[in-house]
């Protein structure tokens, strides 16, 4: 009896996250906005924006990561040539079809030329929306890149203050940093739990939990994570004879949920990934003492995730984040899944693969699109990979 209650709790949490994931009209965010007058929503694309600033302005940060495999792209294709990835066209589709008509601002992070150019397109196509290309430094010294970044943060904060009609105070910002610290702690906890007992936290569920964080207010998301972690811990799930892999390359255009599921069905437990990096871009807590913008800048410069969109100043460090992820999570291999036509992911891949090779870590690679339907080849490839890993480790 007790077990079935727990089960239903877990199932409820997952189905709530699944419903949020499936909802291409962002009903939850719309409802949040309607719940009180003057509320505003600010959207952001991958990979990272400091959501603390939006939150401190009393607004809802809304992650927009494309349309997935359920959105019918009717208008978006007219804006992009066939040799450009999917995410900008489905994002345009979300905009043109009115699904983002409640969004007051959109931030386009510095990730690649496609999203960079999309920022200008958004300015032209949705002139009533506050649009900002959110630039970040590629120089990681406090007095150089740091100062630049603080000023960029200040400009964004001022714009947000103007949008709500009242400047954002340092105390508001500190409070938001604390709220996000809590969220980051829970996210880390979830990832640690999955790395430890991946059969308890299927990759698709972990992903749905993270996706929920893109559309829910952070406080609600933290509560959801807390509930999920507790439920996932308490429910015994069957352990399969899967190998353990790190999934990488999936930092921008999203793989279909089916792809993530397929990997596990094919025999690979995903124990770490670079999905939805915004949720754990900052790898530690941000201090709430002192100047909040300086603190956010310092965290960005010195304790943020490594990814293809970031310059790695030190050759010896290139790709080591992946080796460390493998070691930390006791993974046995790495799966490179990259969106088709994604320059950052695909240009980075050979460098990372060389690093893995030197570290004796096996890997496989394939490409996908957010609307890929056919999972059979990927499943076969992942299955063969899992088998070969088991064979090696058995040897």
């Amino acid at each position: 009896m007790a077990t079935s209650l727990k089960e239903s709790k877990l199932a409820d949490i997952v189905s709530r996250a699944q419903a949020l994931f499936d909802d291409l009209s962002f009903t939850a965010a719309r409802k949040w906005k309607e719940a009180a007058p003057g509320r505003k929503v600010v959207g952001y694309l991958p990979i990272y924006v400091p959501r603390e600033l939006i939150h401190a302005a009393g607004m809802l940060p809304l992650g927009v990561v494309g349309g997935g495999d359920q959105l019918e792209v009717i208008h978006g294709d007219a804006f992009y040539q066939s040799y450009i990835c999917r995410i900008p066209r489905s994002t345009i589709e979300l905009g043109v079809s009115g699904r983002l008509d409640f969004v007051d601002g959109m931030l386009f992070p510095s990730i690649c030329d496609v999203i960079r150019n999309l920022s200008g397109m958004w300015k032209m196509m949705f002139p009533e929306v506050y649009v900002r290309y959110f630039d970040v430094p590629q120089n990681y010294k406090d007095e150089i890149g740091g100062n630049y970044y603080i000023q960029e943060l200040r400009e964004l904060l001022e714009a947000l203050g103007e949008m709500r009609g009242r400047p954002v105070t340092d105390d508001e910002l500190r409070a938001s940093i604390a709220v996000y610290n809590e969220n980051r702690t829970l996210v880390r906890e979830l990832y640690a739990l999955r790395a430890e007992r991946p059969w308890q936290v299927p990759a698709a569920e972990a992903y749905l939990m993270m996706r929920a964080g893109l559309v829910l207010p952070v406080e609600e998301h933290s509560a959801l994570l807390r509930d999920y972690i507790a439920a996932a811990k308490s429910e015994e799930r069957p352990r399969r004879d899967n190998c353990r892999v790190v999934l990488t390359g999936v930092f921008c255009e999203q793989p279909p949920l089916n792809l993530i599921k397929s990997l596990e069905l094919a025999g690979c437990y995903v124990v770490d990934d670079d999905l939805l990096l915004v949720t754990r871009w900052l790898v530690g807590d941000v201090t709430t003492e002192g100047d909040p913008l300086e603190n956010l800048a310092r965290a960005f410069l010195h304790q943020s995730s490594s990814t293809a969109a970031k310059y790695e100043p030190d050759l010896a460090e290139k790709g080591q984040h992946l080796v460390r992820a493998v070691q930390r999570t006791k993974a046995e291999g790495v799966i490179f899944a990259c969106p088709s036509f994604c320059d950052p992911a695909l240009l980075d891949r050979p460098m990372l693969q060389r690093v893995l090779k030197a570290a004796n870590i096996p890997y496989i690679a394939f490409k996908y699109a957010e609307n890929s339907g056919q999972m059979q080849p990927i499943r076969e490839q992942a299955g063969t990979f899992a088998d070969s890993i088991k064979l090696w480790s058995g040897a």
Binding site: A78, F79, Y80, Q81, Y83, I84, P88, F108, S110, I111, C112, D113, V114, R116, N117, L118, S119, G120, M121, K123, M124, M125, R132, Y133, D135, P137, Q138, N139, K141, E143, I144, G145, N147, Y148, Q151, E152, E155, A308, A309, Y311, E312, P313, L315, K318, C338, S340, F341, C342, D343, P344, L346, L347, D348, R349, P350, M351, Q353, R354, K367
Partner: protein, 440 residues
């Protein structure tokens, strides 16, 4: 993207006549000679990129610059890039990514033989001063792996809001002062002298004046130049290794005089087949050209009497016609402004404004976009650019697709068809306008 071809394969019949052409040929040959003999002469080599290059600064340290993009173009023109791209794919690079990078990497894998048939030296440093494209960063990370040499980064923020802010300039100047210059001093063993930099900047500005006069000569009817196919030759020295040199000053002085002569004589552009016939269509072109079939591509235009009067590609190594000049009075700030203002570092609304204005100012019949398969920096957003420019100017626009240096994506028949229907569209528009005028 980017630029620079040696006059090899350039307007053949004119080579004997034009001082500028001879001058450029000799400059480029000397440069490649200097580069490939660096191991013997002991000169130090720095690899860098065209958009956002710091040539005047590099010269302050007596370094020779090597431009991988230019090498890729050379490989394209010499029909070697196809094999290089395949080689890069063979060693693990995706078919989806920028072919400039793959051409360079493939060339390296096959011995790194430069256009003069001699081996290009390994660089002493990679100067990652780039703008307008994220791929550059990955490109040099890839080269760094290969050469295991120091990489010096100068990060140029993007003009996302269509303006250059104080914060951007301060950030860049600080990087120059505290990162780029000290590292270049160390690598070269030469102490930085800001007055030397000022001298070079003065020279740059002089050549830039003449370049702008050349580009703007296309406002004449007929246009004395082709500002895309021909323009690629004209920007060679200033976008490449020669900004800030006396050679560049001489080159642009000759070129300007020659162009002014053509204007006075009422002549159109020179093409590889000699003087172009009657000017029938005036176009503005957005996007890089195709280099693997460069002449064939150009011929499709001049055979039909189409001349390009303005292009965005000739602004990837610097936008000078809107007023920017390197300014010796603020040497570091001017380098920052230069990098920030490069064409692909301008946001989409700025690019649209620029193209629409070109159509008006150069009295063009419309916009043609050559969309490059592997270049997201240029290509992402071009369909919107096309529609907007069309809407604003009321002039027809057309869209063709090819690649810079991957011959697999050049379909001559397709492009020719598209161009033919485009020219017909222009004709129809004209006869429509004539009818309206008649009726009025």
């Amino acid at each position: 993207m980017t630029v620079i071809v040696t006059p090899r394969g350039a307007p053949a019949k004119q080579v004997a006549k034009d001082d500028s052409m001879l001058k450029q040929k000799q400059m480029m040959a000397a440069h490649y000679e200097r580069l490939t003999s660096a191991p013997e002469t002991g000169e130090k080599v720095v690899s860098t990129f065209v958009p956002g290059n710091l040539n005047e600064l590099v010269k302050c340290f007596d370094l020779v610059n090597n431009l991988p993009e230019v090498n890729a173009i050379q490989s394209g023109l010499r029909k070697q890039s196809g094999a290089y791209v395949l080689e890069a794919e063979k060693i693990g690079h995706s078919e989806d990514v920028c072919t400039y990078v793959k051409s360079d990497i493939g060339m390296m894998a096959k011995g790194n033989i430069g256009p003069n048939g001699k081996k290009l030296p390994n660089p002493n440093a990679l100067l990652l001063s780039y703008t307008g494209c994220f791929t550059f960063m990955k490109w040099f990370e890839l080269l760094r792996e290969q050469y295991q040499c120091e990489t010096i980064m100068l990060h140029t923020p993007y003009m996302g809001d269509g303006k250059i802010t104080k914060n951007m300039i301060e950030y860049m100047v600080k990087q120059l002062k505290e990162e780029v210059i000290p590292k270049l001093e160390r690598i070269s063993g030469v102490k930085f002298d800001i007055d030397r930099l000022r001298e070079y900047l003065k020279k740059s500005a002089k050549a830039e004046d003449d370049l702008v006069a050349v580009l703007q000569s296309a406002k004449n009817k007929p246009s004395p130049i082709d500002a895309y196919f021909g323009g690629i030759y004209y920007i060679g020295p200033i976008f490449g290794a020669f900004r800030g040199t006396d050679d560049a000053i001489d080159y642009y002085r000759f070129l300007r005089a020659e162009v002014e002569e053509r204007v006075a004589a009422g002549k159109g552009p020179i093409t590889p087949d000699g003087d172009m016939g009657k000017e029938k269509y005036r176009l503005v072109v957005e996007g890089p050209p195709n280099y693997t079939n460069f002449r064939q591509f150009w011929k499709m235009f001049y055979d039909e009497g189409a001349v390009v009067v303005a292009s965005s590609y000739t602004k990837v190594g610097g936008v000078y016609d809107l007023g920017f000049r390197h300014d010796p009075d603020k040497p570091l700030e001017t380098l920052a402004e230069y990098c920030l203002g490069v064409y692909t570092n301008r946001n989409l609304p700025m690019r649209i404004d620029m193209l629409a204005n070109y159509i008006e100012e150069y009295q063009a019949d419309g916009l043609l976009i050559n969309s490059i398969k592997s270049c997201n920096s240029f290509s992402a957003g071009q369909l919107l650019i096309m529609r907007e420019v069309e809407k604003r100017t009321g002039k027809p626009a057309a869209f063709i697709e090819s690649d810079l240096v991957d011959p697999r994506y050049f379909s001559a028949a397709n492009i020719k068809n598209r161009l033919e229907s485009y020219f017909q569209m222009i004709e129809q528009k004209r006869s429509g306008a004539a009818l309206e005028r008649g009726a009025a």
